[in-house]
């Protein structure tokens, strides 16, 4: 006996199986991506001039926020904190195993990302 070709319904069943199987990113990957985000932001926010401008001029141009970030070591200093937050969040969700999609988990959880990592303002006031 020779099997006929798969029909549309059967192929759709394969697609459905593929849609249902989504490998979740590892915590390490999420941490690397978050690190990249902080580093890219640092590069964009602080193109290095040859001679640094006076602080007063920088304040006028870049704004108080940028100066405060620079005062605690710039964006890279925030990278570790933010990465730790994402890493912890990810461990919490991915660790137990079959937890479904991250989005659904976040939305169904009692905690949002904000609860685990304070806002930028918090970093600044702590600095």
């Amino acid at each position: 006996m020779t099997d006929p070709r798969m029909n549309d319904h059967e192929i759709e069943a394969l697609f459905a199986a593929a849609r249902a199987e989504r490998a979740e990113p590892s915590a390490a990957l999420m941490a690397r991506i978050m690190d990249d985000a902080m580093i890219a932001a640092a590069e964009a926010a602080a193109p290095r001039p040859v001679a640094p401008r006076p602080v007063a001029a920088q304040t006028g141009r870049r704004g108080l926020l940028a100066v405060l970030v620079a005062a605690i070591g710039g964006w890279p200093a925030l990278a570790g904190v933010a990465t730790a937050g994402v890493f912890g969040l990810w461990i919490g969700y991915a660790g137990p195993g079959d937890v479904g999609t991250l989005t659904a988990t976040i939305l169904g959880s009692a905690y949002g990302p904000n609860d685990l990592v304070p806002s930028l303002d918090t970093y600044l006031t702590e600095g």
């Binding site: 099997d3 192929i11 593929a18 991506i33 926010a45 009692a110 949002g112």
Partner: protein, 192 residues
């Protein structure tokens, strides 16, 4: 439901906020976009480690374009799908010449109930069949039938016309049906 305010923002609003220096926006975007970027790259490459590299590279390109992102020109997801598609295409071209059977087969050792095993077997069979399609057909079929995108969106990602997308997906599905002929019973499709 405890929504994070940032969770309700569009991808573009978050990207623009990140471009202005909002670290929280980067975090939300990372959590929101990375899972499907990785899943799509894995589907195209069939290699977990390479897919991780592509996901990281695609997200890095997103971070770098953020300060220059022009509002309303393109959807962030469309842009990202295009970047991932191109990165994967480059990697697959570098692999060209390798025998098809040198491409790692997904390991089908998933524990659990019989239905779970069958689902895994179906995914493995589909992935193997997809791997045999030409690049563009594979991309179009995955974007249409697994990622669930519309034809116009796929056209924007692949930078082709919608008619070409329809043609690619139709030919791709026919080729899949051909490639999977003979495996119906094995995959739990009984003739009755």
């Amino acid at each position: 439901m405890p929504f994070d305010a940032a969770d309700q923002d569009t991808d573009e609003a978050l990207l623009l906020a990140y471009g202005r220096g909002d670290a929280r926006a980067a975090r939300v975007l990372t959590l929101r976009l990375t899972p499907w970027v990785l899943a799509y790259a894995r589907r195209l490459l069939r290699d977990a480690a390479e897919a991780e590299d592509v996901a990281q590279e695609a997200m890095l390109r997103l971070w770098r374009i953020a300060p220059d992102w022009r509002s309303g020109e393109a959807k962030v997801t469309t842009w990202l799908y295009r970047v991932v598609t191109n990165l994967c295409t480059d990697r697959l071209r570098r692999r060209r010449g390798a025998a098809l059977d040198a491409v790692p087969e997904p390991v089908d050792d998933s524990p659990g109930a019989e239905t779970r095993l069958q689902q895994a077997a179906r995914v493995a069979a589909l992935d193997a069949a997809l791997a045999g399609l030409p690049d563009r057909q594979r991309q179009a079929v995955i974007l249409r039938h697994i990622e669930g995108l519309s034809n116009p969106e796929i056209a924007a990602i692949l930078e082709i016309g919608t008619e070409a997308v329809e043609s690619l997906t139709a030919r791709g599905k026919r080729a899949l049906a051909q490639a999977l002929a003979g495996r119906r019973e094995e995959l739990g499709f009984d003739d009755d």
